[in-house]
Amino acid sequence: MIAELAHYALVLAFVLAVLQAILPLWGARKNDLTLMGVAEPLAVASFGFIALSFAGLMACFVRSDFSVLAVYSNSHSLQPLLYKITGVWGNHEGSMVLWVFVLGLFSALVAVFGRNLPARLRANVLGVEALIAAVFLLFILTTSNPFLRIDPAPAEGQQLNPILQDIGLAIHPPLLYLGYVGFSITFAFAAAALIEGRVDAAWARWVRPWILLAWVFLTLGIAMGSYWAYYELGWGGYWFWDPVENASLMPWLAGTALLHSAIVMEKREALKVWTLLLAILTFSLSLLGTFLVRSGVLTSVHSFANDPSRGIFILVILVVFIGGSLALFAVRAPALKQGGLFAPISREGALVVNNLLLTATAATVFTGTLYPLVLEALTGEKISVGAPFFDRTAGPLLLCLLLVMPAGPLLAWKRGDLRGVAERLTFAAGIAAVVAAVTLWLAKGGPILAAAGLFCAIYAIIGALIEFSERLQLFRASASVSLSRARGLPRSAFGTLLAHIGVGVSLLGIVAEAGWSQEKVVALKPGDQISIASFDLSFEGLQQREGKNWRDQVGRFEVRRGGVPVATLEPSKRAYVVSNQPTTEAGIKTFGLGQLYISLGEPMPGGAISARIYWKPLVILIWLGGVVMALGGALSLSDRRLRVGAPKPARRAAMAPAE
């Protein structure tokens, strides 16, 4: 009964979304306030029904109702409750419901918090958003119905793929979806602006909180996914340039560019047309990601769903939305009032360089991800484009970006003082060079590329700090003056500082991991000793351990440092009772910012076992940097001047744009 009700709720949500797509758009066209006004209640109601349906599906999973096909295929009565719940989106149908749930959520948020928007803009935004929701609801109802029944009901389910039975699945997909589905709002804003044929600084001001919100979640989602892959897959890698990872990276790169161009638009009324285009491109890349992941065109760690008939439906959605919005752009954009041109040496000039580098990077990732698919479709030839390609393309471009990054906030709007900035950055570069040299000396050498990366990372961090200390007049004025200046600074200034430092911190981790990791692949018998970095490990032997739905073979490793026992690591080989599918559970122990990482191979004759042992210095910084970036974004979002529900400022003077 629950499944049928939930299915019915989804149908109702679809009908409401169709109404929400038609009435407000029509009302905005006819300037009919009543028709425009139905958008908000419809958005909230539609979201309510999606939420009901989602809750219903979750109930089927929690109750282990195996008469529902999706539950039967992805759950098992012995599964821990948490994985019964996360199993809801650990499969194609359920993850699509999560997708529209997030879409509906953002629609409802705009309805509730967007009261300060002009009526027409709000009606158009909600209309476009509903159009997306309606199409994806139709996709679920026609090709991916999660509520299909099987008769007779099996007594037991097939269980969730063991790799997905992990806390990571509880966190990663929801965060990621909040991020890249969140960009649908900025897409809707752009489409609304084009429909109205009007776009100005106020538009940028309204759309910026939404960009920030989506960006914060996407940043966290990517960082979380990367850490999950790192500990769960047992290969010690944190980024594989897998097409599914790239699918989330591309909207992030475009979204980061959008975040910055919207600042220029708000502050200087320039880059208007470009910002609209970026908003369209960012969500288009999200849609492309959905297509890549959900259609099964890829061979990848993440494609736990594959059915080509669905692929064609999503491809049609992709073509209609991207093609439609670009056509709208082509027709309307030339008629928009152009923003002014500005001096190249200025903050807006630096932000243009930021945008160029970010979009160029997104374009190379796009090329590397789609080239194999296109080539195979055209010639039948199968190739793989892996890490070497992306290291050689995205790598240098992102390093260039890092060199420009500290210059941006240091330059003034309109006309910057290149000499002053160059002097300050030379100082930052000096410190970075010294630190890089000392590190190389302490580490007794290392790859040149790692040293260059180290230099860039420290330069970026110091550069961001210099800019900040200038604003506070740190070391130049008295401490109390600095403190009062700090109180006077908008939160967004702290946000910028944190986000830019976060980039440097991540790079620091990436560089240290790439340049100074140690790895040993060994076969060990109980009692064997092995050293790595400053650690001495002894293998104590294998033990059996039982969990709720799995059996572990645990390898015990005693770790000593300078003769003192510091830790015990227990990596294991896990066999799931139902499918007998083995997984590798790495043993990880954090020392400072580095990690000791052991993953087990197969047992060998004579009680021996093969193992991979890594020492990864500063590796935690990779994800910590992502968290710091997201914190910066959240801090900017909390800035009073950007608060979503803030009343529209009456006076022009109060319109001083946030940074």
């Binding site: 190249p344 160029l356 030839e381």
Partner: protein, 150 residues
């Protein structure tokens, strides 16, 4: 600075960055892509030793021989087979009769020396290239149909 100069600076900067990106992408595409080959294709069109490629097929029944961390096995697609040697830890789902993709080079003796071995990701799923290769050779068992219908 006149309006015209400003516009030229903007266009110039954009052109420089985009051509840098294009140059990087083109040179990387030339040097760092890897072709996917099955044993039958290799038999029909040999690849010189020392160049990197990906080999895909099934791990032949009874072909696995282990010596410490070094493992030898044969990859077959039903039409032809190729001996492979690999030093290191194998993925969890590496088994006889199952799909596998290995990346590496041929040595002088015609043995494929792999530095990476990937197996299928779960019980129901087979690498797409391997499935295609088997279909081509007429050895497709529909083994994971249940998975595909999922």
């Amino acid at each position: 600075m006149t309006r015209r100069q400003r516009r030229l600076t903007l266009i110039g900067t954009a052109a420089i960055i985009l051509s840098l990106a294009a140059a990087l992408a083109l040179s990387a595409l030339r040097d760092s892509i890897v072709f996917f080959v099955t044993p039958s294709e290799l038999a029909a069109k040999p690849i010189e030793s020392g160049s990197r490629f990906r080999l895909g097929g099934l791990v032949e029944q009874g072909s696995i021989a282990k010596d410490g961390l070094t493992i030898r096995f044969r990859v077959t697609d039903g039409g032809a087979n190729l001996p492979v040697s690999y030093h290191g830890l194998l993925p969890d789902l590496f088994r006889e009769g199952q799909g596998v993709v290995a990346e590496g080079k041929l040595d002088g003796a015609g043995v494929f020396v792999a530095d990476t071995v990937l197996a299928k990701h779960d019980e129901r799923y087979m690498p797409r290239e391997v499935a295609d290769a088997l279909k081509k050779q007429g050895h497709w068992q529909g083994e994971h149909k249940a998975g595909a219908a999922k």
